[in-house]
């Protein structure tokens, strides 16, 4: 369920390394918790973010949820499709529901994140 080549945060973001860029989104666990996503606030391209800085917001009918950057770097692309179709985050949170692409400043930051199996154990712990 959780792709093995992704890295995961305790705040339920994922990052996938693709051609030197970090593709960032929120996990299936997060989208289930949120419910229907109706609005996404995306950052501007070229903005810099530090690890764990708020880079945007995902809003469901009932909740407003900050997206914390899982890595430091500059935003090079945002998923414009989310403006008209925020529900992509519910439908395909690990694929079409990607949120931003960041130019990775320091690959060693990925080592602080969880692997898929670590993340799966982590959320099992939450669900108890």
């Amino acid at each position: 369920m959780y792709p093995n080549d992704y890295y995961y945060t305790q705040d339920h973001e994922w990052v996938k390394v693709e051609n030197g860029l970090g593709v960032v989104g929120i996990t299936d666990f997060a989208q289930k918790q949120l419910g229907d996503v109706v609005f996404v606030e995306l950052p501007e391209v070229n903005t810099q973010f530090e690890f764990h800085q708020v880079l945007g917001v995902v809003e469901s009918v009932k909740a407003v949820s900050d997206i914390y950057s899982p890595i430091s770097g500059e935003v090079v692309e945002v998923n414009q499709a989310l403006n008209d179709n925020p529900e992509l985050i519910n439908e395909d949170p690990h694929g079409e529901g990607w949120i931003v692409k960041i130019k990775i400043k320091d690959e060693t930051e990925l080592q602080r994140l969880m692997s898929a199996s670590e993340y799966e154990k982590y959320i099992e712990g939450i669900e108890e």
């Binding site: 229907d36 609005f39 606030e41 917001v57 809003e59 469901s60 009918v61 009932k62 407003v64 519910n90």
Partner: protein, 362 residues
């Protein structure tokens, strides 16, 4: 934390459960948006047993309820209900509620879950020398709401009365699956529908029978999440958000439940004075003109000055745009007025629009 007598069903259906007013309640079963749209296009079944029921009985029941509320209870008769409020001497809200006339000397007040205890104490403390018995029956009553254009089609085969004859705000005692129930043509969604009350110790079969009957017509269970988006589209007030002890009945746009000529009631003088002097502020409905979602307590600005806060706000599943309610100074309450809402530090433009946002086709 309290559980309704239908809780096992919500568990079985794996509903997302939240704490609301001391009750464990289902907020959604599948998706708030899907449940909301089902109610607008087919039908939805809600467990709203967390609501409060306070019975007022006795030879002074009519006069007592007349005194406590601004609407005219003398216009009710057995089988008729109306929307009203428990008002303070300042004409503000202790609660909003429905008053059901069960008999010449018996009135059932159906109140908000969050206010049940407060309302009961308020009523009892104002009893004075009125010859009445006041009973908080909330823990005995299960209340379901069946709402949507197909509600009558679904419920009719299950009851021995002709629902086609039941007008809005009328009710009757009848039975479902051998259990005695009160069925009223009332609701909190802006759709046609019924609220169903029972004192049965085991009301689960009533829920199940309705769900089975409605399955082919697209009936789905609906939680509190969609209940809120539905009522907001229909511009129905939510206590604690849009109305409370600081807002008068007139400011809340509910002058139609204030019957000054009926005689004295708590708040009559204050409301009459406010009517004569003119309101200083009034609730309005608005739409956002730019991207964003307005939420309760977000600041509201006119010409850069903070004038209040959003009282209710959401992304409307039916209209697919952001809507909300807020109080504005009277000069700014005209349709078309543009103002701003602060969303995470940014000013987002909004416009006053006619209400209700949603009105069903008759």
């Amino acid at each position: 934390m309290k559980k309704t007598r239908i809780f096992s069903i919500h568990q079985k259906l794996k509903a997302k459960i939240i704490e609301f007013a001391g009750w464990e309640m289902p907020v959604e079963y599948s998706s708030i948006v899907d449940e909301h749209l089902a109610v607008r296009t087919k039908a939805g079944l809600f467990d709203v047993s967390h609501m409060g029921e306070i019975m007022v009985t006795g030879e002074d029941a009519l006069n007592f309820v007349q005194y406590l509320t601004p609407n005219n209870v003398a216009k009710l008769f057995p089988g008729k209900a109306h929307y009203s409020a428990l008002t303070t001497p300042q004409g503000t809200f202790i609660d909003d509620l429905l008053v059901y006339c069960l008999a010449e000397n018996q009135y059932l007040l159906v109140v908000n879950a969050a206010n049940t205890e407060k309302d009961y104490q308020w009523i009892v403390s104002h009893q004075g020398s009125y010859k009445v018995q006041v009973e908080n029956q909330s823990d005995q009553v299960t209340q379901l709401a069946l709402q949507g254009p197909r509600a009558q089609e679904i419920l009719q085969p299950l009851v021995p009365v002709d629902l086609g004859e039941m007008k809005s705000f009328r009710f009757t005692w009848t039975e479902i699956e051998g259990e005695k129930v009160l069925v009223s043509r009332t609701g909190y969604t802006g759709e046609d529908g019924f609220e169903i009350y029972t004192y049965s110790a085991n009301p689960v079969p009533i829920w199940e029978t309705i769900m089975v009957q409605g399955k082919e017509l697209g009936l789905v269970p609906v939680g509190l999440g969609a209940r809120d988006t539905l009522r907001l589209e229909a511009c129905l007030m939510l206590y604690g958000n849009d109305i409370d002890e600081t807002t008068t009945v007139l400011e809340a746009g509910l002058s139609w439940i204030v019957k000054f000529k009926k005689g004295d009631f708590l708040g009559r003088e204050a409301l009459l004075r406010q009517k004569e002097e003119g309101l200083k502020r009034k609730i309005v409905g608005f739409e956002l003109l730019e991207r964003g979602i307005p939420r309760p307590h977000y600041p509201v600005y006119i010409s850069n000055e903070e004038v209040g806060q959003v009282t209710s706000g959401t992304f409307s599943p039916f209209f697919k745009k952001s809507i909300g309610l807020t109080y504005l100074p009277l000069d700014y309450t005209e349709e078309g007025t543009i103002f701003e809402i602060g969303i995470r530090g940014k000013r987002v433009k909004a416009q006053v629009v006619p209400t209700p946002f949603y009105k069903r086709e008759k």
